[in-house]
């Protein structure tokens, strides 16, 4: 798969501290790429470099195979985390203004803005001042402005903050649609739930360095530690009698008349061996591998490096 964006060992120094230390990422075309990391890790700096707000001290950025240049700005849509609007300006006028700054023709921008406003129930507010809008509505306006010029690359920095659950869903649907229509999306957030739901690929940045990158499913598999959750009924033999050489019983409890247990398989032992072992002990109701959540992987990776 081609990469829409490649960042090659980018270094950025600010006075007295290094914000990015040889960070490289590859964002595949038509993927949703999660950029994760604790506060102050350097995510915003990297996003600003991609947006050409600031330049890197070392390293290069390639957009669609070309070295990043100023005309690429119009092919990127950026929804910053700290976002605002002119409070005294009328909503429609302002949306039109920001769209024109992205290089859209006034008449086209107006037509397509009206369509989006219709879709997001904002049309009655077109001639109202921004300060009359609720925070959620302002966020919707900003979202529309970000995607209006049909950018190839979209960068959303904490896009869901300030939205209610209904609008979060609306937004997620739109993000998926954008991806289907060919856009590539970089998605920066702390909300690991939405990362699991949305992202295909992730990069984890901590303390100015990239510490983890790859496909979400592959990473999770990598972090899976051969731990299984078992539910059993009609126990005839206590689970403690399991072979200690091969398996570790991590926890067990009785719940809703079922026995629930978490068992780790030691290295080189297959899943079938575990099944063979426990099948004698009762009726197996369910058997699942415990796959770590992105949240756990995030916390583990970040705290390991500290």
């Amino acid at each position: 798969m081609d990469n829409l964006l490649e960042v090659n060992s980018v270094v950025k120094d600010f006075i007295g501290h290094r914000a990015l230390d040889k960070v490289s990422i590859k964002v595949p075309k038509q993927s949703i790429f999660g950029m994760l990391g604790p506060n102050g890790a350097g995510k915003t700096t990297l996003i600003r470099i991609i947006n050409q707000i600031i330049g890197p001290d070392e390293g290069q950025v390639f957009f669609n195979g070309e070295k990043l240049r100023s005309h690429h700005v119009d092919k990127i849509g950026y929804l910053p985390e700290e976002r605002g609007l002119y409070k005294k300006m009328k909503v429609g006028e302002q949306a039109l203004y920001l769209a024109r700054l992205k290089g859209l023709e006034a008449s086209y921008a107006k037509k397509s803005l009206k369509e989006w406003f219709e879709k997001f129930d904002l049309l009655p507010w077109w001639n109202k001042k921004v300060e009359a809008l609720s925070k959620g509505m302002q966020q919707k306006v900003q979202f529309i402005i970000t995607i209006l010029h049909k950018p190839e690359l979209l960068i959303f920095d904490e896009p869901f903050s300030g939205f209610d659950p209904i609008n979060i869903n609306l937004l997620k649907e739109e993000i998926f649609k954008l991806k289907e229509n060919g856009a590539t999306i970089i998605f920066s957030t702390h909300d690991m739930g939405s990362v699991e739901e949305l992202c295909d690929e992730i990069a984890l940045i901590n303390k100015s360095k990239k510490v983890l990158e790859g496909n979400v499913l592959e990473i999770k598999r990598e972090y899976a530690k051969q731990i299984f959750r078992i539910e059993m009924a009609d126990i005839i033999q206590p689970l403690e009698s399991i072979d200690n050489q091969k398996f570790q019983l991590l926890e067990q409890e009785n719940k809703n008349g079922l026995k629930q247990a978490v068992i780790k398989i030691n290295n080189d032992i297959s899943t079938n061996e575990l099944l063979n072992e426990i099948i004698k002990m009762g009726n197996i109701v369910s058997f699942n591998e415990v796959i770590p959540s992105m949240n756990e992987i995030f916390i583990k990776t970040v705290s390991e490096k500290q």
Binding site: I15, I53, G84
Partner: protein, 445 residues
Amino acid sequence: MFKKISIIIRREFLSRVRKKSFVVMTILGPILFAALITLPVIVSQISDSKYEVAVVDDTDLFYDRFQDSNDVIFTNLATDLDDALELLRREKFDAVLHIPEVAFESPSTLRMFSKDAVNLNAKIHVENVLKHEFESLKLGARGIDSEVLRAIETNINIQAVRIQDDGMEETDYPEISMALGIISGIVIYMFIFLFGSQVLRGVLEEKTSRIVEVMISSVRPFQLMMGKIVGIAMVGLTQFLIWVFLTIIIVFSVQAAMPELFQFTPDEQVHMTSSQMLDSEALIEQMDSIQQPDTTAGQVLEALSAINWYVMIFAFIFFFLGGYFLYASLFAAIGSAVDNEADTQQFMLPVTIPLILAIIFAQAVMQDPSGSVAFWLSIIPLTSPVIMMIRIPFGVPFFDLYLSAFLLIVGFLASTWMAAKIYRTGILLYGKKVGYKDLWKWLRY
């Protein structure tokens, strides 16, 4: 690049011009100006509440000496002081002037009584009359006839003539030049402050509302800064031109509607030569009646028509724009470096000191418009917009003018370059208290 700047300029311009406050100021400004020009004339004409002074003269020498003036009228009372004071108590008069028998020998016994604070104009008027009368009495006592006295009384009004390079002589009116200079200097000063601080507030608004985060991914910080500065400059120019236009209309229409308020008509005065004016008895009387001892209305008009208005207006626009760009970019840098209006103070002071100094030195410059203080202050870009405008009505060598203009352009390019460096770092930095050290680092960064 320029397309985006022009979109920004358009927004900055329209969003301000459409504000109610702009419309109100634009209409109110010329009305205030026109009022300043026409009101004193109107008031002096229609004011009917005159200050009444009763004169009780125990010496019987000065009763007929007090002439009524525009706002003071005199009434002679043949009564004694106590009766006069009784009348004063019943508010028949505003004041009672008492000239006791011994006044001539000891003038300190002169008294002016009133219920409220005494009218200063009336007091000065009385003092002038008495001084004159006492002096002529004393001269008379030494055998000098009052006829002789009147014959030697001379009105001195020196006509200043400036010799130009081409040998032409040009009558100079320092008072008019002074007034014109100080007015245009102060207007430039006000415009720079007014519109410069609009730039500061605009930048601060973009920063605190975080709209800048959204903008900055589509335009360069420099484009955003320049768009704002140029847009607001156009607001200033628009306002200025409308003001000039409306002021002219208002002054002329008031003049046309009530010509009797203006004791001269421009046409006949302009055609008079200055020598005619000085000889003319009538004009001297007129001069007294409009209470302008140094110039006549005709002289004012001649002086005004002698000013090279093209140079004046062109210079005004140039020095306004130059000074504005110089200061506006510094104001933009300040706005980008701080988080709220309160923090601007520490940086505002050093930026505004040169401007304030210019106003402080205005007096000295007017007294010696070709002196070295005037020269240097009109060359240094930070003070030149104000000081050069003060100098221009007095006539400035073209060398000074070009040097000043050149340095002003260099100055605003330098300040824009500096401001852009501070701006692009400051605009995206929040929650940090910024000091001069930081600004210095950003400059070199």
